[in-house]
Symmetry: C2
Subunit: 160 residues, 2 copies
DNA sequence: TTTCGGTATTACGTCTACGTACTAAATGCA
DNA sequence: TGCATTTAGTACGTAGACGTAATACCGAAA
């Protein structure tokens, strides 16, 4: 009984629960889960444009920017201008940023261990693969533009 | 190479992509993905307290409330007081709400079909099962309360 | 080189997501 | 019965997520 709706709801519940828990674990350090994600991406590869982080996080420029600005204000991240491209930023981890991230990573390891404990080790790979396939399949551009009526209005008809 | 971090990131990317796409598909109807989720839960079982929706969505009372108020303003949802419990609300779908949900459900079916097409049908069940196990494992209450120093401040040390 | 489409970022507004704190009602139990 | 504890919902504040639109800049074609 796993139709599309059930799968979607399961992804949603898993993500929300995970995100909430991660936020709680990181809160004592004054860092949010989203900020941690950005730090992790930068620790993996930095001196990149914001666009690169947007892609790697499957996120959005408008979401990434304020997070980066917060991290910059905390002194964890640098956002230099790219000398080779006047439009772009060159985002990097500061020394402090790297040090902080490494501690966060250490201290949050039990969290990831708990996550992994929920999975059969030999299935973790295909589980991740499925998640990627879902992401890819869903991200397809649908060009169907049927005209519909919006329900946004607070019409008074049909009270019950 | 699927460690805890990779799994977490994969869940995150899948969810964000899915949510964004769902929002785009529902936007012409003036309904958000979150609102759709609530409508779907109510279509499945309504005349329930808000708490019930919070649990079924693995969400939070503070998140559910404004969504319900928006849906109520649109005339899709009713929030009567529970006569048997002065604290509780009794949330239900209005006739219009049910009708609207049924149309949204129909028109968004291609979206869920695309999602399912990414999965081997015989693995969909275990995929959903894994998502649930992740959610359950992660939701455990951790009682470790180590004292840590917050990095929140914008200290000027360690500039790079 | 000039123009023009594509690109990186930013500005702004709306809708979550959720912690903390508070109220009031319900409930357990002495 | 009387009060402490739990529970449903709410108020408020911060941080995200993302659409739309604007700006500056890049690169390629004419």
């Amino acid at each position: 009984m796993s139709n599309g709706h059930e799968i979607a709801m399961a992804i949603r519940r898993a993500y929300l629960s995970m995100h909430r828990q991660a936020d709680a674990i990181l809160a004592p350090y004054g860092v949010t889960a989203n900020q941690y994600v950005i730090l992790a991406l930068l620790a993996e590869r930095d001196q990149v444009p914001q666009r690169d982080l947007v892609e790697r996080a499957a996120s959005d420029p408008n979401t990434i920017r304020p997070v980066l600005m917060t991290l910059e204000r905390k002194g964890l991240v640098t956002r230099k201008r790219d000398p080779n491209d006047g439009r772009a930023r060159c985002v990097g981890l500061s020394k402090k940023g790297r040090r902080v991230f490494e501690q966060l990573q250490r201290d949050s390891q039990p969290f990831r261990d708990r996550l992994m404990a929920a999975l059969d080790p030999e299935d973790a790979g295909s589980f991740a693969q499925y998640l990627l396939q879902v992401q890819t399949a869903i991200t397809q551009r649908s060009s169907v533009t049927t005209s519909v009526t919006s329900f946004s209005g607070s019409s008074s008809e049909d009270k019950q």
